[in-house]
Symmetry: C3
């Protein structure tokens, strides 16, 4: 399996785990777990592939569906062992974001897309699955949480991939650096409260 | 018209009726009825066609739009005759699900897709229109209702289609059996409370 | 730049402004502004292009992304000067709707699509961006507001474009008339309360 294929599989697996955790919070049955695992795990990559006019990853390789279903099964039988499912969800989502951004940006780079498109594909692949999960489950999307970095991590990570690729670094190096920087920013935001200045309405000048 | 074309038309019609019923619950005007009828009636088939890189059904044959608008018109002028619009919505949705799953799985089978993809296309065609309807109308998606079979019916019905097709049964036989088993499961869940065991968090072992 | 390209750029710009205004109401950071500006500005055109099997506008011309980000930046630093951000949102959305409907219908006309498809593309291009904005931001979609014309304006405007094009009028004339009639109807609904009769459940006859 190529390095990009490996990234795609890893991001499907970890996002599928977060989808199954949301299904467990909604107390669904096993098929409901598989539905949310597939939606979350495959949503970002599918959007990327439709936009770039590629065959969606899981139609090209149905094995991806098996990965998502395995994640659903695992969570269905072990989620009760977790002390806080919400905490697990947040951190798994951070890991999935990092890997998915690297996969999305990497595939756009391989296709020779310009820098702006690479960044958008990193963001779309990283954020669409979790966004679909949250909208369908009727929860406040993680990307909307005030005072947290989320889309910003995906933008920064994709920019790292673009920069390293422009410096002729290998796919492996730029992919790993992209995932690492995305995860570091998101972890810093979750654990240490890193954030960007938010919009604050000021009263109009007199 | 081919048998699959007939299934597609029937599923558009019945899903469009459910969309128009949601519009009536939101007290929209006639154009709002047509919007919800089209979104619900055509959403599932459009997703299937975009994923499989086919021309969306209603672009290939604009007559589908006429079917959705006719459903909107019908509901706009007759919904007040119903005793319970919510009850009608539930049962029409069950019928639409059954027909749409058969249409989605049948088209994937005709294209020679592997079994896993056939099941996903059955689920996507069956569930996406109703899901879009519920998300846009800001209602709790039917597929999320705890303790009811919904996605499970679509999975089981698609599996029936795959099995019968593998046994060399005709498109007609496997399509009808798929629709019948999907509807039977959903009806059993609505009327008799059939369900799968749901996830129950247990306290962690000491 | 062609006239249709100009319409597409203008609709991206104005819809992006509305997306950024929603981000300001949610007190997001600058990247959150850019995310909402892009989602809203590019959503409708992207849906149209995916359905018509064209390359999404911003992949064909990444400059569109710059337009959306510029709108985000502008709103981030000036929204506090507005007296009522909601009022500004409503009226900008009306202008964006008008221009986007003209762009969507115009492109479908140029491709030689039949009248029904032209109307749907006008509606999809005009409504999808704002709908995505409202669903993701968890606000009641503008298109669902009871007793207001919204989708109806898009339908009527697209019909004007179809009619003028059938009368051999130029792209410029039919585009401008489409935008003007869409905006006039929406403005009349916002300012003067124009509306269509809505569905009123009547008690069943005895």
């Amino acid at each position: 399996m190529s390095f990009l294929g490996l990234l795609d599989h890893a991001s499907v697996l970890v996002f599928a785990l977060t989808g199954a955790l949301v299904a467990s919070r909604a107390q669904l049955d096993l098929i409901g777990f598989a539905f949310f695992a597939s939606l979350t795990g495959l949503g970002g990559g599918t959007l990327r592939d439709v936009l770039l006019d590629r065959t969606p990853l899981w139609i090209a390789q149905p094995g991806y569906l098996g990965v998502a279903c395995a994640a659903a099964l695992l969570v269905f039988f072990t989620a009760h062992l977790l002390e806080s499912r919400y905490r697990a969800l947040l951190w798994l989502d951070a890991a999935a974001l990092a890997v998915a951004v690297a996969a999305g940006a990497g595939i756009a780079l391989e296709m020779g897309q310009p820098a702006a498109i690479v960044v958008v594909m990193g963001v779309a692949t990283g954020c669409a699955g979790g966004l679909a999960r949250d909208v369908v489950a009727n929860e406040v999307p993680l990307i909307l949480k005030q005072g947290e970095l989320y889309v910003s991590c995906a933008v920064a990570g994709s920019a790292v991939a673009v920069a390293l690729s422009a410096l002729d670094q290998s796919q492996l190096v730029s992919g790993l650096a992209c995932a690492a920087s995305t995860f570091a920013l998101r972890a810093g935001s979750l654990a240490l409260g890193w954030r960007l200045p938010v919009y604050k309405p000021r009263p109009p000048r007199r």
